[in-house]
Amino acid sequence: MELIDFFTDYTLRTITLGTAVLGAICGMLGSFAVLRKQSLLGDAISHAALPGIALAFLFTGLKDSNVLLLGALISGFIGTVWIRGIVTKTHLKTDTALGLILSLFFGFGELVLSYLKKQPDANQAGLDKYLFGQAATLVQSDVIVMIIVTGISLVVMLLFWKEFKLLLFDKNYAMTLGFNTRFIDGLISFFIVLAIVIGLQTVGVVLMSAMLLAPAAAARQWTNSLGTMVILAAVFGTFSGVFGTGISASYNNLSTGPVIVLVAAVFVGVSFIFSPSRGVLFKQIRLIRNRRDLELKKTLYFMYGIVEKHEDISRPHSIKILNGFQGFTRGTLKTLSDKSWITIKGQDWSLTEEGFQTAANLYNTNMPES
């Protein structure tokens, strides 16, 4: 694929726009799913949508994606309700409930799909695309539906921003303030289900949950503000969609879903490692720096212990007597003298007045930061 194709090829433009919009809405709503610790609910819902698609086709005989997605919405909703029923009414835990609904609904969906496949009219071909997604099947009307849904959820999110945020971080407080938490809860869940359902055609049942999670998990690493996180997640989602579509369009045989998911996974990996405040890399660097600082102070305190016994603070001592003490290296010695806590003369060192004071106050919590 040449770059120029992108601007001239109408189909590709439609598809790219579709996946970009999808990435945006998934990132946006996925932020809420991740923060509500409902990451895997998305997985269960998207699998639970399969029988809805298959049954919608079985009963209507239509392959119109809106009809099928309506079926998906209904069966996804039934799955969600049943999960809640299992968790609240029995002693089975959330993970079991999610795994149950996910696999049982999916299996039932597969049963209906395989039944459809054996039917004499071959009209059902193409339902398989809902398993892994095929962005190439997106047409303009699908993209318009996506844009409308995204628009509505954006408006609702902005209208209920305060309520959503409150519910997310302090549900009990929201209750005492008199908010109808059940309604708000339902509203968030509904939009998450909606985002999953409209993504099924592009990303597919199996991988849809990652589309929801990955941009949000990546965005979470860069910020502690909900607003920034939602925007960042939408941006990551959009880029995953666009890059994923680009890559999958350049090779013939690739499903879009897996490619988009892998691109999103790269975003997550980079965020996990390179995020300045939470990332693994900088955390490790900070850890090493802190450890060095500790060693330095340990050495200083050891010196203080020696000097303390003598009347004259600045009396030189031999470096040799530091040997065998673990915190000591040539480097630390140099750093200490750079901080003008000690002075080094030949093979001897002596504590300065400043160094003596610092060491004396080392374990006082109110010591000013050196």
Binding site: K93, D95, S114, L254, P258
Partner: protein
Amino acid sequence: MNAELAIILIACLTAVACAIPGVFLVLRKMALISDAISHSILPGIVIGFFITEDLASPWLILLAAFSGIITVVLVEAIQKTGLVKEDTAIGLVFPALFSIGVLLIAIYANDIHLDTDAVLVGRLEYAAFDKLMIDHVSYGPKSMWTISITLVITLALLFAFYKELKLSTFDIGLSSALGFSPVVLHYGLMSVASVTTVVSFDAVGAILVVALMIAPAAAAYLLTTDLKKMIVLSILFGIMSAIGGYYFAVWLDASISGSITTVLGLIFLLVYLFAPTKGLIAVLFRQKRQRTEVSLLTFLLHLNNHDSIEERRVAHLHEHINWGKVRAKTVLELAQKNNMITMQDEVVSLTNKGLKFTEKALDYIITNKDEQIEDMKDDFFLFRG
């Protein structure tokens, strides 16, 4: 051996092999790890298939099971960084690995007899025809051999480490204090789950293997709290669904593994609704009864507190305790049936028995022993709410 029998046998063996680790996964609240493993062994299977070109090869099984273990390690590593919660970690790892597997299949589609559809649901229909041939002598279907061997190993491990597994599942603190390393048991269980998943993968596919692991165990868990009974019940449910699923699929002319899952789903639904003490209907019934009984208690306490005739008129009571008509009627009837109250000219008064009950209940409430009231109800009530 004819094909029908072979398919049923493979399905049953798979169901049993999955049910055993499934019980422990459900009890350890790790049900979703099975989902993660079943997805992320795919790249292992594909790469193994490149090397061995045989889905039943032991090397492929080991390689794929190894990628299952890697998933567990990866999930735990991500979790340990504290960057995201456990469920998000699971949700990030397996789709990524699964995507790699799907893309590998897509790219090398011509060289490889795996298609993405089969990856999800397996092909039990064909498993019976892939015979193990040694020196041109057929020894039955390959997958039957692999599953049987896995099952034997699983059973042997189960019998050998039953006590340790039980202990570490229910009391991880005590188990590590006694010197049974939870880490070894954890990874042991994960390894068994991985191997079982890989072996079952060919027959039932990535997602249905999750159903075979979780659903029988979950249904059994609603029926019993005894570990041994739970294992036996899960195995039973697994076998029932395998046999029932086969015939249902033949009748419908549809996918066998999909049909097995559907039967499993029906079994779970029935148990979920009708389980004697933990099923939905039993729970709803119990909740309703408790609501009525608490109302009754409130009502009796109210009577105990107010002596004046005005306060004890039925109409007034409705108003005072703020109940709907139906609820008030249920409570009044229950109280009368149990000889707690008598009614005269619309005025309610406590009987001696009612008085005794109320005062004893009040005693328990004041001394913070509310739970004793439950036992007391058995002594006083002829009829429950």
